[in-house]
C-alpha cells in the first residue's frame, strides 16, 4: 500500500506541474483529473489493493497521454513556465549529479557575497573500458534554488558577476576548461559598484580572449545577465529552456504601452513570447546556439537522473569538440565525436579520452576560432549585403589596404622606431661619456673665467597645444531654435535659473542653461556639424540596413517610417572624420532611428568600424547620442551583438587601438553592458544618463524605488563607471585633448 500511496502522490505532483505549465486547469480536462485524484485519495482504503493499483495505473496512463499532447504543442510561454518551475533542476543538482566531486568556491548557501552566482571547482569523469579518467573543470553559473529567497531567483548582483570573473581568471591560470550554466531571468539592475552594466561588460571583455576552452549551457537565458557568463566556444541549450532579449512580460509591457502598476494581459504576454523566438529550436535556427540537449517530456526535473547522465555525456562531448578543433592531429577522434553528435539521442558514454590541456599554438587557434565564431553571428540578418562582384572588389581592396598599411605602419614605422631608439641610446651614451671626459676641463675653465651666474630656467616640456580656432559655431543652427518662446530650466527652483529664450538657448548657448549649466537635448546633426572639422566626414557602410529578421508583426512599417524620417538605414552611423586635423573613425548611435537600439545591422556596422580603425591605425570614437539598449524586435540576434561587438573592441584594443566612448542623453542596457562599458576611457556629456535598466524596471524587479537622479552621469562618475564629464561646448576641445593625452604621439598605443 505504501508503494501505491507514493505512486498516487507522484501523480499529484505531475498533475500540479501540468496545471502550472498550462496556467489553467481547464485545458485537457485537467480538473477532471484532479477530481479523479481527489476521489482516489479520499477513498484510498475503500478499494482492494489490486483495484486501487488498477485505478492508479489508469490515471497514470491517462496523465502520460495528456503530457505527451501538451509536449507536442508546447508554446513559448509554457516553456518559460517550465523553466521557472521550482521542480526544475538547478545548477546545484547538476553539480551533484553530473560532476563527480566538487568544491564550491563562492561561499556557503546564504553566507555568500552573492548566493545567486555559484562557482565551483569540479571533477568530471569519463569511463572508458572500465577505466576512470577524471578531468578538472571550473563550473560557473547562476543558482535559482528550489524556492530559497536568498538565491534571488538566479538574478545576479554586480558583485556576483565580479566573483564569476575572478574564478574565470583562476581557471585560466590553471589551464582548465570552464563549464558555464545559465539559469538567470536577467541581471539584478542596480548601479552600485561595480555596476550591473559595467561588470557584465568587464566579464564579456575578459571572456573574449580567455585562454581556455569554454562551454556554456542555457536553461534560462535572460539577456545581459546571461551574456555575463555566456560568451563561450560552444553554446548548448536545453530543449525546454529559453534564451531571450527581454522577459516576455517586459516585452508585453513595452509593446502594449502598459502603465506602471497595471496588469499586463496574459494573451499579450503569450504572443510576445512567440514573437521573440525564444525557444531552443528558434535559437538554433538563428545560429545563436550550437546544439540542443534534449530533455524528457515537459522538461527535466531535479530527480531525472537519466537526464543528468546524458548531460554529462553532452558536456564532455562539447568540450572534446572544442579542444579537438584546435589540435593538429585530430582527424579520427574528431570524426568519432562528430558521428556521436549526429545521433539523435547521444546518451552513451564517450569512448575515447581526450586531454583538455592546450599548448600555446592550440590556444592561439582556439582564440582564432572563437573570434571567427562571433564575427559570423547574425551575419545574414541585415540588409545591404554586397553582390558577388562587389564583394570580390571589396575583398581585393581590403587586401591591398592591409598590405599598404602593414608596409606603412608595421614595417616602416617599426624600422623608423627601432632606428630612432638606437640613435637615442647612442646619443645618450655619447653625451654622458663626453660629459665625463670634458667635465674637469670645463670646471677649470669656468673657475678661471668666472662669469655672473646666469639665471637658471626650468626646462620646458613639449606639451600638445590646442590650436586656437576661429569660431566655427556659427555655421549651423539647430532647427529647435526656430521658435519664438521661452523655456524653463528644470533646475529653476533649485538654482533660480531664469527662463531661457529658445532662439538664444539653441543658438548661441548651444542648448546649455547659462546659470546652472543644465544641458538640454540637441539633435545628433548638431554634433556632426560642431564636433568634427568642416567637410571632413566620410560616411561608410551606409548601405547596411536594419531588417525584420524575426518577422515581428508591425515592425517593417516602423522601420519604414524611421527610414523616411532620417533618410538612413540603421541606428548606427559610421564615418571617418577629423578633429583638429586628427584622423579618427567614429561610430554613432542616435535616437531618431528606433531610439538608437542595437540590432544585427548596427552591430555589424560597429564591428566594421572597429576593423577599419584597426586597419588604418586610427583612434575609434563611439559617440552615443542615445541608445535604448538591444532592439527587442530582433530577439537574441540583438543580444548576440553584445559578445560580437565586444570581441571586435577587444581585438582593436589588443592591436594597439585607442577606444574612447562618450555618452550623451540616455545610454542604457545591452550596449553599455558590453562594447561601450568595456572601454577604458568612458566620458559623458553633462546632464546625460547612463545605466543598466530604467527606473521603472528597477522598481518592478527590486521592489525598491530609486532617486530621480539615480542614472545621472554625475552619479555614474561617483560610482566610477565613467572617467569624466564634458561640457557640450568643450566637446571638440576635450576630445582633441583626450586623443593626444591618451593616444600618445601616434594616437595609437604601439
Amino acid at each position: 500500500m505504501d508503494d501505491l500511496r507514493k505512486r498516487l502522490h507522484k501523480t499529484e505532483e505531475r498533475l500540479n506541474y501540468l496545471i502550472r505549465v498550462k496556467d489553467s486547469s481547464t485545458w485537457g480536462n485537467l480538473s477532471g483529473f484532479q477530481e479523479k485524484y481527489t476521489h482516489l485519495k479520499d477513498s484510498f482504503y475503500d478499494y482492494r489493493e489490486d483495484e486501487l493499483a488498477q485505478k492508479i495505473l489508469e490515471l497514470e496512463e491517462a496523465l502520460s497521454f495528456i503530457e505527451e499532447r501538451c509536449e507536442e504543442a508546447l508554446s513559448s510561454m509554457e516553456r518559460v513556465r517550465i523553466v521557472r518551475s521550482p521542480q526544475r533542476f538547478t545548477l546545484k543538482d547538476i553539480l551533484e549529479n553530473v560532476y563527480e566531486d566538487f568544491t564550491e568556491l563562492s561561499g556557503e548557501e546564504d553566507a555568500n557575497i552573492d548566493p545567486s552566482m555559484v562557482t565551483a571547482k569540479a571533477q568530471i569523469v569519463r569511463r572508458i573500458k572500465n577505466k576512470i579518467y577524471s578531468q578538472p573543470v571550473m563550473v560557473i553559473g547562476q543558482e535559482k534554488g528550489h524556492g530559497e529567497e536568498y538565491r534571488n531567483g538566479g538574478s545576479c548582483k554586480p558583485w556576483g558577476n565580479e566573483k564569476a570573473l575572478r574564478y574565470m581568471r583562476v581557471a585560466e591560470t590553471e589551464g582548465i576548461p570552464i563549464h558555464f550554466y545559465i539559469f538567470t531571468p536577467g541581471s539584478f539592475p542596480v548601479e552600485d559598484y561595480p555596476g550591473a552594466a559595467q561588470q557584465i561588460a568587464r566579464n564579456l571583455y575578459a571572456l573574449t580572449k580567455l585562454r581556455i576552452p569554454m562551454i556554456s549551457v542555457i536553461s534560462e537565458g535572460g539577456s545581459g545577465g546571461a551574456e555575463a557568463v555566456g560568451l563561450a566556444d560552444f553554446r548548448l541549450m536545453f530543449s525546454h529552456g529559453y534564451y531571450s532579449v527581454i522577459s516576455p512580460e517586459g516585452a508585453a509591457a513595452i509593446e502594449g504601452k502598459i502603465r506602471e502598476g497595471e496588469k499586463v494581459p496574459p494573451e499579450l504576454i503569450d504572443s510576445c513570447a512567440e514573437r521573440l523566438k525564444i525557444t531552443a529550436a528558434d535559437n538554433l535556427g538563428l545560429g545563436t546556439i550550437d546544439r540542443i540537449i534534449q530533455e524528457p517530456t515537459l522538461g527535466a526535473k531535479r530527480d531525472d537522473f537519466a537526464f543528468f547522465k546524458q548531460l554529462r555525456s553532452e558536456i564532455i562531448r562539447a568540450t572534446d569538440e572544442v579542444v579537438l578543433k584546435t589540435k593538429s592531429l585530430r582527424a579520427f577522434r574528431a570524426y568519432d565525436v562528430k558521428m556521436k553528435k549526429a545521433e539523435e539521442s547521444a546518451t552513451e558514454e564517450p569512448e575515447i579520452n581526450i586531454s583538455w590541456d592546450l599548448n600555446a599554438d592550440e590556444i592561439k587557434r582556439l582564440l582564432r576560432y572563437r573570434s571567427k565564431k562571433y564575427r559570423n553571428m547574425a551575419a545574414n540578418h541585415f540588409g545591404g549585403q554586397p553582390t558577388s562582384a562587389e564583394a570580390f572588389y571589396r575583398k581585393t581592396r581590403n587586401v591591398l589596404f592591409r598590405l599598404y598599411y602593414a608596409f606603412r605602419y608595421d614595417l616602416l614605422r617599426q624600422r623608423q622606431k627601432q632606428v630612432e631608439k638606437v640613435i637615442k641610446d647612442v646619443s645618450g651614451e655619447g653625451s654622458v661619456l663626453l660629459k665625463r671626459i670634458t667635465s674637469p676641463f670645463t670646471t677649470a675653465y669656468d673657475f678661471i673665467s668666472r662669469k655672473p651666474e646666469a639665471k637658471k630656467t626650468r626646462p620646458t616640456i613639449e606639451r600638445p597645444s590646442i590650436p586656437e580656432e576661429l569660431d566655427i559655431w556659427g555655421t549651423y543652427t539647430s532647427p529647435l531654435a526656430n521658435e519664438d518662446r521661452t523655456i524653463s530650466c528644470p533646475n529653476g527652483s533649485k538654482y533660480g535659473c531664469r527662463d531661457l529664450w529658445v532662439p538664444d538657448l539653441y543658438g548661441e548657448f548651444c542648448g546649455v542653461c547659462e546659470n546652472c549649466g543644465h544641458h538640454f537635448p540637441l539633435e545628433y546633426e548638431w554634433y556632426l556639424k560642431h564636433l568634427f572639422d568642416p567637410d571632413s566626414i566620410r560616411v561608410f557602410n551606409s548601405e547596411i540596413s536594419s531588417r525584420n529578421p524575426l518577422d515581428y508583426p508591425g515592425f517593417d512599417e516602423r522601420l519604414k517610417l524611421d527610414r523616411a524620417k532620417t533618410g538612413r538605414n540603421s541606428a548606427n552611423i559610421t564615418f571617418y572624420a577629423k578633429v583638429m586635423d586628427v584622423d579618427i573613425v567614429v561610430t554613432m548611435l542616435y535616437s531618431d532611428f528606433r531610439n538608437g537600439t542595437v540590432g544585427a545591422a548596427e552591430g555589424e556596422k560597429f564591428v566594421r568600424a572597429c576593423e577599419k580603425a584597426r586597419l588604418k591605425r586610427r583612434p575609434l570614437l563611439a559617440y552615443i547620442h542615445t541608445t535604448g539598449g538591444i532592439r527587442i524586435n530582433e530577439g537574441t540576434l540583438g543580444v548576440i551583438q553584445m559578445p560580437k561587438c565586444t570581441m571586435a573592441v577587444r581585438e582593436y584594443i589588443d592591436s594597439g587601438g585607442l577606444y574612447i566612448v562618450v555618452y550623451d542623453n540616455n545610454s542604457y542596457a545591452g550596449p553599455v553592458a558590453s562594447f561601450l562599458g568595456c572601454s577604458p576611457y568612458q566620458f559623458a556629456i553633462r546632464s546625460s544618463r547612463v545605466g543598466f535598466a530604467g527606473s521603472r524596471v528597477i522598481r518592478e524587479t527590486t521592489g525598491e524605488d530609486v532617486p530621480p537622479d539615480y542614472h545621472n552621469c554625475r552619479n555614474a562618475l561617483k560610482r566610477g563607471h565613467i572617467q569624466g564629464i564634458w561640457d557640450r561646448r568643450d566637446f571638440r576641445k576635450n576630445l582633441y585633448k583626450a586623443l593626444l593625452t591618451m593616444g600618445g604621439r601616434n594616437l595609437y598605443y604601439r
Binding site: E483, D484, R485, T486, I487, S488, D499, D705, P707, P708
Partner: protein
Amino acid sequence: MYDDINFEEIINKYRSDPYEYLDIVTPHTGRVKFKVNEGEEVDGPSGKWHHHPGTLLYILDRENNPKPMNSQINGVVTSLRAELEGHFVEAGEKLMTIKHPLKKREIIEGILQNVLYLFRAPEKAKYFFSLDIQARLEKQGEKAVFIKPGEEILTMSLMKRDTPIYYSGEEGIIHSVYFKPGVSVKQGEPLIGVCAREKLPLIQKIITHVKAEWS
C-alpha cells in the same frame, strides 16, 4: 519668566484655528489658467525624495512658456481669485490661499519654537555635544541637563578642525536637540532649544495636552 507666557492663550489660538494659511503668489508675470476650484483638496509633493510634484494649482503662461505651478503643501484651496482666470497678472499677485490643517507634531513644534530659547548654528558645520555635556546627557537623561551662559556645550567640526562653542543665552535645561551628530547643519538653523527649569513641567503639560487633543 513663568508668567510672561500665557499657555492657555497659545493653546486656545491653535484650538480655535488649527490651520496654517499659505498664500500662493505668482513668481512672475503671465497669463493665469486655474486648475483647481474653491474648496478643493490639494496635496503637497510626495515620494521618498519628494520627487512626485504636488497637485497642479495653475498654469502661468509667459512668452509661450506654459509653466505648471504645483502645490508645495497639502490643504484646501480658499480665497481663489477666479476673476483672474485667463487674465494677465503681475509678479507677486496673490491667486489663492491654501488652508493647511496643522498636525500634532507641527503644533508642538510651533509652540516649542515660541516658548523655548533657540541656540542657533554660528556656521555651516557638523556639531557634537562637548564631552562633558554628552556625559551628563547619558547620565542624567533627556530634558535634565542644566546649562549656563559661558559654558562649553558644543564642538563645531569644520574641515577636520574642532572649535569649542560656548553657550550664550538664557540659562535652563536642554529641552530639544535639533541636530544629529555627524550631519552638517546650515548657518542659523537651531541646534538646541533651552527652557527655564521652572517652565519645564508646564511645557510637558502642554505637550501632553496637545497630544491628547489633536489626532
